[in-house]
Symmetry: D2
Subunit: 377 residues, 4 copies
Amino acid sequence: MRTSRRENHREAVAGRANVADTPALDAYYDALERKEMGALWTVANKIEPWQPRPQSVPTIWRWADVRPAILQAPDLVSPEDAGRRVIMLVNPGRREVSAAVGLLYSGIQIMKAGEAATAHRHMASALRFIMEGQGAYTIVDGERMTLGVNDFVLTPNGTWHEHGVDASGTTCIWQDGLDIPLMNALDANFYTVHPDLRQRTNQPTDSSVRLHGAGFVQPAWLRQAWTKPYSPLLKFDWAPTYEALTRAAQVSDGSPYDGIIMEYVNPLTGGPVMPTIGASMQLLRPGEHTKAHRHTGSFVYHVAKGRGFSVIDGRRFDWQERDIFVVPSWSVHEHANLDDRVDACLFTFNDLPVMQALATYAEQPCPDNGGHQMVVA
Amino acid sequence: MRTSRRENHREAVAGRANVADTPALDAYYDALERKEMGALWTVANKIEPWQPRPQSVPTIWRWADVRPAILQAPDLVSPEDAGRRVIMLVNPGRREVSAAVGLLYSGIQIMKAGEAATAHRHMASALRFIMEGQGAYTIVDGERMTLGVNDFVLTPNGTWHEHGVDASGTTCIWQDGLDIPLMNALDANFYTVHPDLRQRTNQPTDSSVRLHGAGFVQPAWLRQAWTKPYSPLLKFDWAPTYEALTRAAQVSDGSPYDGIIMEYVNPLTGGPVMPTIGASMQLLRPGEHTKAHRHTGSFVYHVAKGRGFSVIDGRRFDWQERDIFVVPSWSVHEHANLDDRVDACLFTFNDLPVMQALATYAEQPCPDNGGHQMVVA
Amino acid sequence: MRTSRRENHREAVAGRANVADTPALDAYYDALERKEMGALWTVANKIEPWQPRPQSVPTIWRWADVRPAILQAPDLVSPEDAGRRVIMLVNPGRREVSAAVGLLYSGIQIMKAGEAATAHRHMASALRFIMEGQGAYTIVDGERMTLGVNDFVLTPNGTWHEHGVDASGTTCIWQDGLDIPLMNALDANFYTVHPDLRQRTNQPTDSSVRLHGAGFVQPAWLRQAWTKPYSPLLKFDWAPTYEALTRAAQVSDGSPYDGIIMEYVNPLTGGPVMPTIGASMQLLRPGEHTKAHRHTGSFVYHVAKGRGFSVIDGRRFDWQERDIFVVPSWSVHEHANLDDRVDACLFTFNDLPVMQALATYAEQPCPDNGGHQMVVA
Amino acid sequence: MRTSRRENHREAVAGRANVADTPALDAYYDALERKEMGALWTVANKIEPWQPRPQSVPTIWRWADVRPAILQAPDLVSPEDAGRRVIMLVNPGRREVSAAVGLLYSGIQIMKAGEAATAHRHMASALRFIMEGQGAYTIVDGERMTLGVNDFVLTPNGTWHEHGVDASGTTCIWQDGLDIPLMNALDANFYTVHPDLRQRTNQPTDSSVRLHGAGFVQPAWLRQAWTKPYSPLLKFDWAPTYEALTRAAQVSDGSPYDGIIMEYVNPLTGGPVMPTIGASMQLLRPGEHTKAHRHTGSFVYHVAKGRGFSVIDGRRFDWQERDIFVVPSWSVHEHANLDDRVDACLFTFNDLPVMQALATYAEQPCPDNGGHQMVVA
């Protein structure tokens, strides 16, 4: 009796691989391996699962843990040495690729008043979501944008960008979101440091907001000229976003799975803000508890307002403002606002544009238990 | 010596038709005509002009003329008898097709407090721009929208729609814009009266504004479902439109030909609000005088605010609030704000989407005289 | 008792205009007219018909009439004087705009061996369909294409083009199709004579056919560079077209209304060959009689092969090879192959791309009489 | 003196991370790790490389090795046990994900006369390229297709498909190509066995080829109905493909980097045949040696005809018919036909559609040495 030293993922199901190991096959496998080959049937059931089997696991990073940790960083490293002074949120199942979930990276960055980082650009698409502090700014291709809490700013693929805090400001903390793991998975990552290390601004502050910010009208003289694959509107302020949510909530129940969920869009196309990363802000009304569903795509949630919980693959995660949690692809999930009088808001960024561009989006409601999951943990 | 009784458009230019009439040809033409044929060379130079030769002529309808005329209508006809109590603006060169310019129709409609018109739908795309009065409303496919001065509302191709004024309102006047002549030119016009003569509302008032009005975010649960060829946002309020213009004016000079010109867009596509009619609002800063150019496409202008003049094909048209004027295709035009302290705003609707969809857009700056026309009249 | 001198299209239907003429209204109409205005209700029922009311009438031009007529032309005019030696097919209802049907122009052109016309370009889109003769060629933007019977060639909007017959050829006759009336209706027509009167070829003969002709593969190095709004494949040969029809007929019944109908496509987009004109070739099997339907869009048919009849708005038109007939928009039509052993082929060009781009396509089957019309004439 | 136990990728370049390990930082890293966090600056230079750093290495699998190996398989496993009797081509750097290169899988499958595999479907997109034998067939969504050497057949994402060899045929061998690693990287892989294990055919053999195979015309009655994200034409025969290459070679030099390279296209869109996998066939003329360049995207080459060599990242790989080799993303590559009288043809499948859909395509010519690489191995 022998035990093969190789993996062999057998399933006793018609149409699936189910080949017993034998000495003859073992010798065959050895010979194949020497020629950079292998027998599909030994791994077919692993590499072709019945449904997605993400390495990522549902995870929450509580602000009560993250904030003290990031506040230590300025005493330990300078922006010059660190490049960016950022603490990564690392999924337990995705540590090897530094992903928060799936192929999405996320980190928490801190800058003190008067600090500024060097400018660079990369193939990865990036965004920031402001968590606390005053005086933060980002410069993208020469446009300086001022940033406040819950503001959402893009630094799209290929744009020169840099961050800083005005000398008159306070220590600022924000969340970064990037598709670095996706770019690496695609073997398409590039990085360039700005030749002058800093950009000069070449237009008035917040130009893109003033030109493109009112999405229902767009500057006619700029529309035809824009050929880039991302939104010309680079910053989405919190106040009008929240107003849009509350106005929509006056006339609609929204999605059964997500409540009033508004996608940030490229106002010149109505499509996602960047080719690989989508983002949305959703409002859960006081006491609202959404139905459960699952779909492909990896999601990073950031609690912009309120408190509640989400059930992800049967496990309950309680959350409050500034907590960050992730829902892996094909994980069943539902959300609840625990406050009876105040709404809750969840910011999300995700790889839905990738799912849609590559025709890999799939969705399934949770039919059992009145649309809700049995909470098992 | 004979004189042909037929048209014969000769040009003594190489590559153009230049055939002299002869008795033999005349007999030939007679024979062709009996068989529903004709000789191209007799009309080629007419039907293939060197450049567009619109029948439409630049025309202005002054509010000082229009308002007294439309105010008489309620005493002369009821909405029931008239269908719609509307005075058409008829271009002197396009009387046969009831067009204001090119293939665009425009009229001025009046309704008294408490009046309501019957519901209908048609293949033509339509819009309204509110001129005066309180309490006007439009219902489109069950959505009731309230309307104030300078608000812009769509009643797109194929939608059930009806107009009225609340009993608590005042006499209301607005401009209608439609592509009726285009639909007739294309032999594609349809018209249906609503089987109940009136619609029931099926959603809260101004739903589309509250759901889609903040163009930079869009309701995620509605985006994928929308397959119609027009904007789901049906009303564009004046206040946020004017705010968008003034914000853009803070950071940009806009177009050299049009100043700060913002196109109303379908927020789900970034494209025009309807497949055949585009619309925009432009702001001319105090004292601003734009450069002249010409392009294909027919334009109806409505002075939403301020006073100034436009020069169209060398002729100056002075305008003030509520005046309406038209610029035919390929007519050279430039605009000026005559006030040194107050901005002026021009609303426009046009057939630019047709030009773009059919690849017939062409544009040319006016190179002479520093970019301005010689005013000849 | 008075009789109004104006048109007044009344209908006694709720929701339609129905205003009786009165002296007061007559005076009002006079006053309006002086200010370039008019009362909508007098013409509303005319300009907003219940369904399309084309001026075009179903018409057939028989080759037995057309061929003798066009053969006379060379003795009457030279290509130099005529520009193009073409006999137009003029719809009895559209004589004023020189249209064969709707907004489509068609003519029959003749050139003798060794003749050549001057090069020009225009905003109108154009095509040729070869009827008889050997040695015909067309040059489009420097590419010379050789042409045989039933070949279909494009001279798209904006391209330099010229036609001729080799000295070694025979007298050639072909059908021209253009959207001249559409360009004029849109006030977007332009015409330029080539500065040298003749083009020089700048690439091998039939280049586009050899590069793009096998539609299922396309030259990778050319795909990204092509930004023009028409097909890079400029000629569609008869032999492979007919082969495609017969192969499809082996496995499909095709359309109930049109049999095996294959659209000529832009192989880089799968869309129509030009932005305003579509074209197709359809095969009717021996004895096949299609069902009747109607839809928007104007169609010119050319009998490429066989004999049969079409019923258009209840009137039967018998046809044989080289006959040309038209189906106006919204006219009910059906086709029949009268031969029991040989298939029949109808070439068509039409304005379907306009209907689709402008969202004005509508279609309706003929439900009565087993899907067929009662033939009334 | 301590040695950190963690990775720390330092670079002494302004704008890059360069933080020395210290006991304080080490303690900080420990604390972060306990909370599922980490310091970006320790890995930033690794996860954000200056340019793509694929794990895949250029590799060739020679038919002289592969053929004997695959011919052994029928004696070792049955199709029933194996699911599919396939030998994978495993890149030395991508063994863990069973990829041939990047996120592309490839295998060599063998079936004997009369064998048939079970039907299944999956989110992965798949293709086959026939290498030898007679009587092979594939059934896709009820359409049976017959396959010969160098034929290329799609089994797109979501389609039921199965393979077999007619009893009257011979042992058949073909190459499979799938994006299994991409689907797993995206956490979007699904797999279903057909409920009946075998499909019934529901249309004539090779229907899609007869309906859609002549790419320059398309069946009008099917065009509007097709909404799937892949080509309705499922098989691309070798004979017309080779003819298209030779016809194009008569009039063009093709690409400086790839010679006459023709992309297989979806004839309804002109785009790639499937949303995640593109394919092309390229012809290198006798003696042709292309210039070198590099670009993002992973490529699998299959020598369909002829003999020559490719230089990949400075290393020369000689190839002949049926050899398979891969070019990883951003690897410099050039190709040469070693025969002076006979052309060579390379079939390729790749993830270019992913690069284009996600805006990650980048390209760079090789400027040195007259456009060619220095061969270092």
